[in-house]
Amino acid sequence: MDRVKQESEKRGGAHVTKVGVRVGELSGVDPDALSFGFEMLVKDTPFEGLALEIDFRKRVQRCATCGRAFETDMLFGACPDCGSSDTACIAGDELDIAFIELEDTACV
C-alpha cells in the first residue's frame, strides 16, 4: 500500500484503480488468501474498491543438458525433451508488484 500511495502522490493524488501483483506458486502465497486479505486491507480506507489483479505463475525449470525451459508443477519431473533430471528452478517464486493503474487526470 505504501507503493500505491507513493505512485498516487507522485501524480497529484491521482485515483488508483488497480494494482497488479505477480505471485509464483513457490512464493508460499495463496492467491485466494491474498485477495481476501487485500479486500480487508482497503476496506473503510480511501482505497476501498481498489481492484487487485493477480498474475499466478507456475514453477519454471531449465534443463542443464539441452537448455529447454519448461513449466512444471511443484514436483517436477525430468526434462520433457531430453529426459535429463539435471534441471534448475529459474522462476516460480515471484512475489512482485507488477503495475499500478491510475485514473488519467494529468494528461487530459
Binding site: 491521482a14 513457490l26 511443484m74 539435471d86 512482485d96 508488484i97 507488477a98 503495475f99
Partner: protein, 222 residues
C-alpha cells in the same frame, strides 16, 4: 494509465539482507540459517555443534522463537555468545530483526554465525536473512513426504539434515523415500543423517559446514 512498478513485495527485507551479506563478507563471517518444523531438533543440533567446535572457533548463535528465552539458555551453556530473538507472534525471522540483534555484537569476533529460525517450514523460506546458505532439518518422527508437502524450503536449502536417526528402528519413516523426495524437489541438495541424542553423524555435518565455509570465506578452518 498503467504504471510499471516491478518491485518485490519484500524489497525492503531484500535490501537489508543484501546489507547484512555485505557486512558478513567484510568481516569474514560465515552465516547459516537453520529452518525446520517445531521439534525437529534445531536447538539440539546446535547444542551438539557448539560442544564439538573448538573453543578458539569464534561461533555465535541468534535463535528465534515466538516466546521464551529457553533456547538461548540451553545454547549459552557451551560458552559461545547467544542471543534470543523473541518475535512475539511472528512466525519467521526477517532481516531487520537480524540487523537489530547484531547491532551490539562485534562481527570481527565471529567466524561462524548460526541463525536458528522460528519453527516453521513456510514463511522462513521467503525471508532472506543475508545468510550464505539455508539448511532444512527433517526428523524421522515426521513424514518422509515433508519435502513434497513443503517444496519451497527444500528447494531453497543447500543441505537437508535428517535428524533423530537413532529412532529409525521404532518409527515407520522410509529413509530412502525421504532422500528421494528431497532430491525430487531439489536434485542438487546435500543430505546428512545425524542423531543428536546418541551423537552420530555429527562429523559429516561439521565437515559440510567447514567445506561450505571455505567456499565463502576461503580460510582453512581446523
Amino acid at each position: 494509465m498503467r504504471v510499471a512498478v516491478e518491485e518485490k513485495v519484500l524489497s525492503e527485507n531484500q535490501r537489508l539482507a543484501m546489507e547484512l551479506r555485505q557486512r558478513f563478507l567484510d568481516h569474514n563471517v560465515f552465516c547459516l540459517n537453520l529452518i525446520s518444523s517445531p521439534g525437529s531438533g534445531k536447538t539440539s543440533l546446535l547444542e551438539r555443534t557448539l560442544e564439538a567446535m573448538a573453543k578458539d572457533t569464534k561461533v555465535a548463535v541468534l535463535t528465534g522463537d515466538i516466546q521464551t528465552e529457553n533456547d538461548a539458555r540451553r545454547l549459552a551453556r557451551a560458552g559461545f555468545p547467544v542471543k534470543q530473538i523473541t518475535t512475539g507472534g511472528t512466525c519467521h525471522l526477517d532481516a531487520k530483526m537480524i540487523t537489530k540483534a547484531l547491532s551490539d555484537w562485534n562481527l570481527d569476533e565471529i567466524d561462524i554465525l548460526f541463525i536458528e529460525n522460528v519453527g516453521n517450514l513456510v514463511c522462513p523460506s521467503s525471508y532472506d536473512l543475508g545468510e550464505h546458505a539455508k539448511i532444512v532439518l527433517l526428523s524421522v518422527t515426521e513424514g518422509e513426504d515433508k519435502p513434497l508437502k513443503y517444496p519451497g524450503i527444500f528447494l531453497k536449502s543447500e543441505l537437508c539434515v535428517i535428524n533423530k536417526m537413532d529412532l529409525l528402528p521404532y518409527v515407520p519413516f522410509d529413509l530412502a523415500a525421504a532422500r528421494e523426495n528431497a532430491r525430487k524437489v531439489h536434485p542438487g541438495i546435500d543430505l546428512v543423517e545425524v542423531s543428536c541424542t546418541v551423537r552420530k553423524g555429527l562429523d559429516d555435518w561439521l565437515a559440510w559446514i567447514y567445506r561450505r565455509q571455505q567456499k565463502v570465506v576461503g580460510v582453512p578452518t581446523l
